[in-house]
Symmetry: C2
Subunit: 211 residues, 2 copies
DNA sequence: AGAAAATTACCTGGATTCAGGTAGTGAATT
DNA sequence: AATTCACTACCTGAATCCAGGTAATTTTCT
């Protein structure tokens, strides 16, 4: 049996969802909260496989609540309920460990599909949200030149440079001479035709070699 | 009637797809090419609503061919056919103007669904590809601390630093003393608690203040 | 086995960054 | 009128980066 916690301050929405799921076998709305505080209390007492979370709550930002829930609970699947598709919200929600994103005017069938998908460990986004995410890729300019071929060591050092480490710090981490790290850095910059570390990282990022 | 150009050097695949679509009303495979060269020739002579493109061709990288096709043709919808789901390939394909991404072992139903979706101007990704894209969002850590408040000048300099300019280069561009730029850089690093330029840019990027 | 590529390490010297200050000017706020 | 903030500019000294090399050892490929 899949147990659901419903977090929303609009009775209309909670009633609607309860009705949608009433006839569905294997799924039961076993608790409902009108505020973030209430929800966190409920989560201390019991566990739920699915959490349906309205992102606009009276007492706390829904995104923050999502992070809070994730802090103490890695297993529950969190599905956001919102009224609008906004790229920034969607990406932030995903970053905070959300599993699904639905508009409140969804169909019954979509809700059930979403619950099933996230149960399987997948991410479910409603059509609009999915498209917003994909659109982001369109506006990135294509790297004009070929990405240079890097050796294993070079990739490794590029990675560490990108994490903000300095040459000497890297040399300690990899048990290498600082001079060796510098040689690799120099070769990287030559391959990318960069003349500063920032430029190197910027170019490598454009080629999707890091981050 | 939807006209399809099929670009693939494996007879098995082209035959399979032709068979899949033979019984489908409103869709016809009206040309097939085994190489990129052939494909480009065909595209000079006629236009196609849909282009099914194998990304591993003998004479040209499929991604490059995708860009080539888009250069002279904004209206055709390009659907990639591949054997593997690789994040880098998927994102690059989308950036180069691709519209759909399918694995070669797809079902007939999925192929038709994909063709319909891209015809409507949407992007169709096979399940695996969609998941790869979404996974990317997971690995971005959420900014833990508050973004510091920056002054106008600081934002400006942060921006230029991010573009890969060095302190002295910025000073020339803004008609400032190099020492002044350095002061701003120093203040920025203090505000972000960074101890290197890369770290500063990394943190600022996490806070979505740049890029 | 031999060639090519990768990895390691060093040298020199100039440029830039980093960290710790101080200080004057102008604009906005209280 | 006094204070705060942003912007400007400077000083010192150490650390790091950048650019141009050379060179020995190991790994990888043919």
């Amino acid at each position: 049996m899949v147990h659901i916690l419903l977090i929303d301050d609009h009775p209309l929405v909670t009633d609607g969802i309860k009705t949608m799921l009433a006839t569905q076998e294997g799924i039961v709305v076993s608790a409902a909260a009108k505020t973030a505080k209430e929800a966190l209390n409920l989560l201390e007492q019991s566990t739920f496989e699915i959490i349906l979370l309205d992102l606009s709550l009276p007492d706390m930002d829904g995104l923050v609540l999502c992070s809070e829930i994730r802090k103490n609970n890695q297993s529950s699947k969190i599905i956001a309920l919102t009224s609008t598709n906004e790229t920034g919200i969607i990406t932030q929600f995903l970053q905070r460990g959300g599993n699904g994103y639905l508009l409140k005017n969804m169909e019954r069938q979509e809700l059930i599909e979403a619950i099933e998908q996230v149960q399987l460990g997948k991410i479910y986004l409603c059509k609009g949200a999915n498209e917003k995410i994909l659109e982001q890729y369109r506006n990135v300019e294509v790297a004009t030149q070929q990405a240079p071929v890097l050796t294993r060591r070079e990739k490794e050092i590029l990675q560490l440079l990108n994490e903000g480490l300095t040459g000497p710090q890297i040399s300690k981490q990899l048990f290498l001479s600082p001079l060796t790290v510098e040689t690799h850095r120099k070769n990287l910059m030559q391959k990318f035709e960069a003349n500063s570390l920032q430029m190197l990282l910027k170019l490598a990022r454009q080629q999707r070699l890091i981050e």
